[in-house]
């Protein structure tokens, strides 16, 4: 049941049995609007391509009605790619939001501190040597965990708030990138050419199995985030405040970091390093929501939205040439990052 408590304007008080929480009404309405936009864009995306379909045909095809051709195009050809886009966008953005919050550094996203590249290097190593399709996911996870351990371990004495942490991450990322190139230069040209779009970040041909693995992982992480939202919203506070409120800061950071690593690793194994989504997504969520606290769910939604829009644009803008999403997001995200950096009074503490 939902009660209104007048002293919390803008919030609803939700209590189910012994559990209760406050819901930010504005955030909820905006999230719903965002989700609705996402659905519309998805339908538009499913309809666009070499065989254009009207939104009505798309909906019919999704429901299993309409003509067989449309059903085949939508369900067999385009749906997998769309799902991959939604999942990876949400995963990258959520991972970025978690990591920014836990490092208390707006630039500390997995893509910038080298976690994407490391996951990529590990995944490529498994592709080069074996062909077991589940291995890349596992290897990517191992890679992202290694890079995160390195980045946070190396910043142990200087803290994660300044730019040093970020530049240490850049160094880790460039070593990992070099490793990937070494491995790709050792294999046959055809294999290297097939892997190329993936290494810049592309939704071109996601493996169905890995998309499903990512979907399951994302679901687990989203549920985890929903259950822990109130705990994660403590992350921006200082350690003594959190301890005073009865939470263990170390556990909190560990949970957030593990979720972030899991999401990044799985997403990289599907789409390659599209790391700038993790920078833009949470930022957009913060601006749109004017949110008090950590905009986890909104980040996931904005990330999906950006990814799907970028994929549609890359697919259709210069057709028949297809521009990988990784390139498109770099072109948009690079200038944004530069702008963040040269602003005089950069607000470092989120």
């Amino acid at each position: 049941m939902i009660n209104k408590i007048s002293s919390f304007t803008g919030y609803s008080y939700l209590s189910i049995g012994p559990y209760s929480c406050l819901l930010d009404k504005r955030a909820i309405t905006r999230n719903f609007i965002l989700a609705a936009i996402l659905v519309l864009v998805c339908i538009g995306g499913l309809g666009s391509g070499t065989v254009p379909l009207s939104p009505w045909e798309v909906v019919n095809a999704l429901l299993g009605k309409g003509d067989a051709m449309a059903q085949f195009v939508v369900q067999e050809l385009r749906l997998k790619r769309l799902l991959a886009g939604i999942y990876t966008g949400a995963a990258f953005s959520l991972a970025g939001c978690l990591m920014q919050t836990l490092a208390r550094n707006r630039l500390a996203t997995p893509g910038i501190i080298g976690i994407d590249n490391a996951a990529m290097a590990f995944a490529v190593s498994s592709i080069v040597s074996t062909s077991i399709s589940i291995a890349p996911s596992a290897m990517a996870l191992a890679g992202s965990a290694t890079a995160a351990a390195l980045a946070f371990g190396l910043s142990a004495h200087s803290g994660t708030r300044g730019y040093r942490f970020i530049v240490a991450g850049i160094a880790i990322g460039s070593v990992a990138g070099a490793m990937t190139q070494i491995m790709l230069s050792q294999v046959a040209v055809d294999t290297a050419n097939t892997a190329y779009p993936w290494t810049v970040g592309s939704l071109n041909s996601p493996s169905k199995l890995m998309v499903h693995i990512l979907g399951v992982g994302l679901l687990i992480c989203l549920i985890g985030c929903l259950l822990l939202t109130h705990v994660f919203s403590l992350l921006p506070f200082s350690d003594p405040v959190v301890t005073g409120l009865g939470r263990n800061m170390k556990h909190l950071r560990l949970i957030a970091l593990s979720l972030s690593i899991l999401l990044t690793g799985l997403a990289v194994s599907v789409a390659g390093p599209v790391g700038l989504i993790a920078l833009i997504g949470p930022e957009m969520a913060r601006v749109l929501m004017q949110y008090r606290g950590t905009p986890l769910i909104s980040s996931a939604l904005t990330g999906s939205l950006i990814m799907v829009v970028a994929d549609i644009a890359g697919r259709t803008a210069f057709s028949p040439v297809e521009i990988p999403v990784g390139i498109l997001t770099s072109i948009v995200g690079g200038p944004y990052l530069i702008w963040v950096l040269i602003r005089q009074d950069t607000n470092r503490s989120l």
Partner: protein, 339 residues
């Protein structure tokens, strides 16, 4: 003799450091001629150098290994010197053409030219130099915008952003032009293999101009490091010195990118090592950077030939693996060394 091993780098005599480094450099050049993938053994190569040997060995040494070594030498000198110049003009120990996006600017302009139908063999190096110049101005612009009080590390981040943007644009060009793609994809990782002597003649004028200019600005730069006011008081014009440095760096980086592709981290590692050996004075480090740059590139090149026989590893990849730990080392230091 004890003063040779003086604990303070800036008080060691120059010659005590220069002689071993130059000896190592010469040794490295010889190794580059002697070792390589394929059937020509070091003994055969020695015979060629003595004026004997089989035709095959003569061909391999004269036509394949010698040009490579010379290109490595030129690229190394260019990158090492441009690194030390950039670091002193931005007063930032992390300023490096590869990290700050200057090489990426140069690479992008080359990729653009290739996509528009030029071929790698006939590429004018001025093109790469113009790209490097644009990249330089961008970096200096950011350094100006962020002012003095800020973290020097932020500049690296801006460079990384610029690099990722330009790399993305370069990849976009690759998508468009399948034919150019294969050519660029090999070139973009940096390699000094498969070049011929006649390409080298083109770079001579740039090198002469650059070395004359750098001789002219070494002393003003050394005073500029003491502060703007000191430099003005000593009768130099800081603004003009900076402009010349930007020009020289663009010339050098453009040249090295045109002949060897974008090789990153050399400009970071070389001045770092030089400072560790003879201290921070640019009048001393510059002379040490001359052999150290080629030393790094040529030894990396030898490794790239030997590690994965019979194929080759991209050179840029190897320098990144050597350079990134050095970057970490600098960033992890308690106080960033001020220049």
């Amino acid at each position: 003799m004890a003063f040779l091993f003086h604990p303070i780098p800036s008080q060691r005599p120059m010659s005590s450091m220069l002689v071993p480094v130059y000896a190592l450099f010469v040794l490295c050049c010889f190794c580059s001629l002697l070792f390589g993938a394929g059937s020509v053994s070091p003994m055969d190569a020695v015979q060629v150098l003595l004026g004997q040997g089989t035709d095959e060995a003569i061909f391999v040494v004269h036509e394949l290994r010698l040009p490579r070594t010379i290109i490595g030498l030129i690229a190394g000198v260019c990158l090492g010197v441009s690194g030390v110049l950039m670091q002193s003009v931005t007063r930032n120990p992390l300023a490096e053409p590869g990290l700050l996006g200057v090489s990426a600017g140069s690479a992008f302009s080359v990729a653009l030219a290739l996509a528009l139908g030029m071929s790698v063999a006939t590429l004018p190096i001025e093109l790469a130099q113009v790209g490097a110049l644009v990249g330089c101005f961008f970096v200096i612009g950011i350094a100006k915008l962020q002012g003095q009080r800020n973290d020097p590390i932020r500049l690296v981040l801006a460079g990384a952003a610029l690099t990722s943007l330009l790399t993305a644009l370069t990849s976009l060009l690759l998508m468009y032009n399948e034919f150019a793609a294969d050519e660029i994809r090999f070139w973009i990782t940096g390699s000094i293999a498969g070049k011929r002597f006649d390409q080298l003649v083109e770079v001579v004028p740039s090198l002469v101009i650059a070395s004359l200019c750098s001789l002219y600005i070494v002393r003003p730069l050394a005073s500029l490091i003491l502060g703007e006011n000191v430099a003005i008081g000593l009768g130099y014009r800081p603004q003009r010195v900076r402009l010349i440095v930007v020009f020289v760096v663009a010339l050098l980086v453009g040249t090295s990118t045109a002949i060897a592709g974008p090789i990153i981290f050399v400009g970071l590692v070389v001045p770092f090592v030089a400072r560790a050996l003879v201290g921070t004075d640019i009048r001393r480090t510059l002379w040490l950077c001359l052999p150290l740059g080629p030393l790094m590139i040529i030894s990396a090149d030898i490794l790239s030939r030997l590690i994965a026989q019979p194929t080759e590893m991209p050179l840029g990849v190897l320098t990144a693996i050597i350079g990134a730990p050095v970057l970490l080392l600098i960033v992890r230091a308690q106080r960033l060394p001020t220049l």
